[in-house]
Each structure stands twice: as structure tokens, then as C-alpha cells.
Subunit: 383 residues, 2 copies
């Protein structure tokens, strides 16, 4: 009788309020009933993104919205700077190259954050750069990049700042307009606690102006068309109806439970508790200097394969955590604490990792991880 625990950085567990809303019979999307839901979701998404702009829902995963961000704002031959410190930084570069852009990568050691000074230097070296592409939270390395400091470099220029907020939006406060993010993207299966299949994207005025001049071909992901439909509380093509219904339920749930500030505080505490627990177990953090509040990467003990650990956790103990990707495969594992995660998910994750490591022969004293986490997690119930 294995219960399943989903403690990965995404997909993440879906609260039952959203599951039940999505289990209701499917509405038709060209109806006043759906338009009303659409309007409420639009208002919620604007609050979430911190923008006055329309936040457009796309029936796609986050990668689709990343591609839309590029194809709607740039043209073949344009130079872009890509912050490349993990698998998703690499993805920005791949998408850009696929569409004939000139990519200049800023290499960042995996597990570290980019320095704003590196971006500034690259911008000086390449005055023809049209956009900076970066992650806010690089999910593959659990590092957090300094989007606000990079925005200080692009805000008053023609350079667009295009940000993958897939594991940051809803995890920490996002103020798209105030910070000066030009394109912001997120996906449904992360902090917004839904199944995969829905992406959200918003463009600044500067990005919309760039969009008018951009010549890359786009059809399904044509955001000008999406914006025109959005103005009529609709989408250009068939929306992911159930996910939008689910998103309404999520926004209602968040509001009932103290709003987004409470969510951001919770993510901060869960992340800190996880890091303390990992250190108490005698393990090393992958991104100690700029850790993401979405997930925590952990180096495996010397000589042990992370794949063996994550498979044992998943197949024998019922606990799904993430392994490493790309150059980190086999070397690290990642504990997610994003979205519908609470105090006890952190404790379960740490206890399970301890037990699995002990089973696999590591030198582990059971209980140290949970104990250290419990100490931090007491904050959840204070104030």
C-alpha cells in the first residue's frame, strides 16, 4: 500500500478544490458562462504577474510560451544574450537558434546565479543585442537569478528582458511592470498547482511594440491574435478549458487562504526548512549562495548515484523527487517545495531521503533532517 508523494519541482500536487472544479462537466468556451470565468482568471493572473497587461493563457506547456516569447518579439538574425546556467538556460538558446537568432551565451556554473555585472559586460561587448533571455528560477540547478538587477540594465534601453518565470511566478513576489520585465512566462504545473497543459504569458508595452516589428513566423502562438481575443474574454483557438476552470479555483483558494503574500512566505519557510534539513543530514547544497525557493538541489554523498536513490524513493517508498539533468545527472537530487506543498511535505521528503540513503549504505543518522526542518517550520504557525 504505497501512497504516492509528489515532491518534485513540477508537476506538483493539485489541491482537491481544483481537481473537483476540473472534474465538473466541460463548459463550452464560446459562452457567457465561460467568459465570466475567463474574466475572473484574467484579473487573478494580472495580480499574480504584477502587471496591467493582459496575461494571455495558452494551451501549451511552458516551453510553448517560451517559444512564443521569442517568435513574437524578435526577427531572424537578431542577437540575443542567453543566461546559460542550467538546462532551461540551454533551452532558451536552443529555441533562439531554431529561429535563426544570433545567440551569445553568458556561461554560468551550474548551481550558481549569474552576476548582473556579467550581463552588463556582455551588453557592452554586443551593442546589437535585442533581448536578454533568462530564467528567474533555474529549475535544473535550483539557483535563483537576479532578475531585478538585470532589469536595471535593460529597463531604459531598447533591449527586451525575456524571463522564464516557470518556477518563480507564484513562488516569490513578481512585479513585472515595476521591475521592468518585458516578457514573462509561466506554466500551470508549478506554483499555480494545476496539471500541465496551460501556460501564461504577458508582454510589456515595449515588447508589444517589438512584436509589431518582429518578422518571425507564428500562427498558433500569435500573441497579437491572442490579445485581440483576450479583449473579448476569449482565446484565438480552443483554450484548455478545464485548466482555466481549475485556475479560477486556485485563485479563489489562494484568496481564501491569505492571498499571495502568505503563499510567498510559505515558500520561503519551506525552502529554508529543507535547506536546514539537508545540511543537518550532512549533505551539501547545489546552490547554497542563491537558492531558489521552489526546489532544493542536493549533491549526492561521494560515490553514490543519484539515480539509484531517486528510483528507490519512487519505486519502493512512493516518494517522487527529481534527479539531476544534463551535466548533473546522477550527481544530484532535487526536493521540490513548490505549489501545493506544506510543512509535512518537507518532513516527509527529508525523512524519506534519510531512510533511503541509510538503506543504500550511506552514513546517515535518522531524524536529523526532520528535526532541523521542524525547528524552522514552527514559523509556519506563528504570526
Amino acid at each position: 500500500m504505497l501512497k504516492r508523494y509528489l515532491l518534485a519541482p513540477g508537476p506538483t500536487p493539485v489541491p482537491h478544490e481544483a481537481l473537483l472544479a476540473m472534474a465538473a462537466p466541460v463548459l463550452h468556451h464560446r459562452t457567457p458562462q465561460f467568459a465570466e470565468i475567463f474574466r475572473r482568471v484574467a484579473a487573478g493572473s494580472r495580480e499574480l504577474f504584477g502587471t496591467r497587461q493582459p496575461v494571455l493563457p495558452l494551451a501549451s506547456s511552458g516551453t510553448g510560451a517560451m517559444e512564443a516569447a521569442i517568435t513574437n518579439t524578435l526577427s531572424a538574425g537578431d542577437r540575443v544574450l542567453v543566461v546559460s546556467g542550467g538546462k532551461f538556460g540551454e533551452r532558451w538558446a536552443q529555441i533562439a537558434r531554431t529561429h535563426g537568432l544570433e545567440v551569445t551565451e553568458i556561461p554560468v556554473e551550474w548551481g550558481c546565479a549569474v552576476e548582473a555585472a556579467q550581463v552588463a559586460a556582455a551588453l557592452r561587448r554586443h551593442p546589437d543585442v535585442r533581448a536578454v533571455l533568462m530564467q528567474h528560477s533555474e529549475t535544473s540547478t535550483t539557483a535563483l537569478h537576479p532578475v531585478e538587477r538585470v532589469a536595471d540594465l535593460t529597463r531604459d534601453s531598447d533591449v527586451l528582458l525575456i524571463v522564464d518565470g516557470i518556477t518563480s511566478v507564484g513562488v516569490l513576489e513578481t512585479r513585472m511592470d515595476e521591475v521592468g520585465i518585458d516578457v514573462l512566462v509561466t506554466g500551470s504545473q508549478k506554483a499555480i498547482m494545476l496539471p500541465p497543459g496551460l501556460a501564461l504569458i504577458a508582454l510589456s508595452d515595449k515588447a508589444w511594440a517589438a512584436s509589431a516589428k518582429s518578422t518571425l513566423p507564428r500562427y498558433y502562438f500569435d500573441l497579437a491574435k491572442a490579445r485581440a481575443s483576450f479583449a473579448k474574454d476569449s482565446t484565438a483557438y480552443t483554450p484548455a478549458i478545464s485548466l482555466i476552470v481549475g485556475l479560477e479555483a486556485v485563485y479563489r483558494l489562494v484568496e481564501e487562504q491569505g492571498g499571495w503574500p502568505a503563499v510567498y512566505r510559505r515558500h520561503g519557510i519551506l525552502a529554508e526548512a529543507t535547506r536546514c534539513g539537508v545540511r543537518a543530514m550532512g549533505l551539501r547544497l547545489l546552490a547554497p549562495s542563491a537558492p531558489s525557493p521552489a526546489a532544493t538541489g542536493v549533491w549526492m554523498p561521494e560515490g553514490m548515484d543519484a539515480g539509484v536513490l531517486t528510483r528507490y524513493l519512487r519505486d519502493v517508498m512512493g516518494v517522487t523527487v527529481a534527479g539531476g539533468q544534463g551535466q548533473l545527472e546522477g550527481k544530484i537530487f532535487r526536493l521540490g517545495h513548490i505549489g501545493y506543498a506544506d510543512t509535512f511535505d518537507v518532513i516527509v521528503g527529508l525523512a524519506a531521503v534519510e531512510m533511503a540513503l541509510k538503506h543504500l549504505g550511506a552514513d546517515v543518522v535518522l531524524g536529523r533532517g526532520p528535526a532541523a526542518a521542524q525547528e524552522v517550520l514552527l514559523q509556519m504557525y506563528q504570526g
Copy 2:
């Protein structure tokens, strides 16, 4: 964002396989389709009870089946022995007196098990006793009574052994026929992992013979009628259709996951881990000498009110455990580990209790309970 954890001795969590089965459109019960489900459930219930007798489903809670056990086998003025060592022992006495029976109680200190010798002595003192009424697991005190040893006293006599197996059936192996239990009762919201509203009851040949002579009035709970309908794969009155559909899903799930022996083993390990965790926290067990594998009762630290603890756990931390009932109210709390419970439920329960006690000012070292439990729980993944 409080997640809810149901760690009481019942109602207990329902696995999603059963929830989904019960969410399907309601079948009509006078159909071949339902009869087929009914037959499969009947076979599963026979295996669960360890009996060749029909196990009759009643649309009622367990208390309804307790009343049926009495009204179908006894007559006004009959003397019954009641093992009274908790709230549910008291309930047997109340039901018996309601129906005009002569009740002789065997008082047992709450938290202790009856001694078979006490029952033997009472049977010698009262040769007119027609039935012994007892709990197998006394949920209110988390003590386990020695049903098999009591059955040794009644098996070859005319005395009926009527057993409330509400928190024992499905928790530990039940061999109704082999042991010589004459009436066995259980409820859906415990080890069989369903919502409340369905009870199961079976009678031995001796009990069916007594039933033919019993003169207490019964209509809804007339088990002879229920048996006649059962022979036609049906019930006398409208059955709790969805719960029977859910029970089919539960039996299938148990079979897929190693059968009841694996379930009994799991309950034993979870209970042992909970007891070790509680002792490691420096707390005292309520029923150390004969603990039930369904739930663990724990004395509050000196001077602290259990109601304050259980309310804090439930309302602030989202963790529902049970308090004390009757004379134990305020003095104890109970951690359930029955039904759809696993390794991490035990860890969550212990971690939550530690954190709540610490918050309430008790002298608690965080992590000791989970650590001791983890050590025991490693067994879950071995052999």
C-alpha cells in the same frame, strides 16, 4: 494553505481508487450489473472475516450492526456479559439494556485488556449467561482484548461470543470460523478505507440457530431477511450502493498490493513505529501492555489539556488526531494508523505532535519521535 491530514482511528482516509469508483454514476441495485459487484464484494468480505458464512452489508454505521447483533440473537431478560473497558464496551451495555437484557459488566481499567480468567470467572458465577459482548480493539482506549482466549471459553458451550471488530477487522488477521466468533461486526470507515455508512456483520451457525429463537423485535436490521436477500445477491432494503462499489475497489486494491497479509504486517509496523516514536518523545502510552495495532493512545504531559493539543493540531496545523472519550477526555490523545495509512503518516503525526507540544510549552526535543519511528519503519521496505 493548510493541507488536511486525517490521523484519527476513524473516519480514515479513503484511497483515490475507491473515491473514483464511488464518484461514478450511481448504479441501480436491482440489476445484474450490481449483483455481479455484490457477489465479488461478498467473496471479499468472507475472506476478510475468515468465514464461510454470508457477510451481510447493512446501510448503517457500526453501531447499527452492533444493535443488529443483539436484536437478532437474544431475547428480553437474557443475561449477557459485557467486557467494559472503554466507551465501546459501555455501548454494548447500553444497547443490551435498551432491549431489556440483564447486563453483567466485567469492569476493566481503561487502557488495559480484559483477562480471559475474568470472563471465565464471570461465566462460572452466572451460568445463565447467553452471550459475551466485547470489543476486539477497544478504540477509545487503544487496548486489544484477547478474543481468541475468550472464544476458548465459549466455543463449546451455548454461550454466544459477539465481537465488535470495528477497529480490528482488516487491521489484524480475523479467523471468525476457526476462532469461534459467533457474531462479528465491522464498519466501513476504519480499516476498509471507505467513508462511513456501511456496516458488515456475519453470524456463526450457532448464532443463526439462536436467531431463530430470539424474540427481540427487529425490522430494518432483520438479519434473516438480509440473509435471504443475500442468497439472491441482493439486500432486503436499499443498500449503500456507492459504498459497496467502493468496497469492491478496496478489495481489488488490497489484492493488487499483496493481499491482507501485507495489510496486517503494515499495521503492525506502523503501530510499533508510533509507539517507539511516542516513547522517544518521553510520553507514556495509554495501553502499553496490550496495544491495538489500529491506534495508539498517549497520556498528555502532566498538567496539559489534550483538548488544547488536539485543537491546535487540527485548526492550526491541519492534523486531525483524536482526543480522549469519557473518563479519558482531556487526558489523552490518540494517533490512528488504521486503513489507508503509511510510513509517512506516522512520521507526520509524530512530527506534528512534537511541534504542537513545543508550541504549547512542553519540554520536547524536536525530531526524537520521527527518528525513532524511522528506525522501525525501515522494515516496511525490507522483505
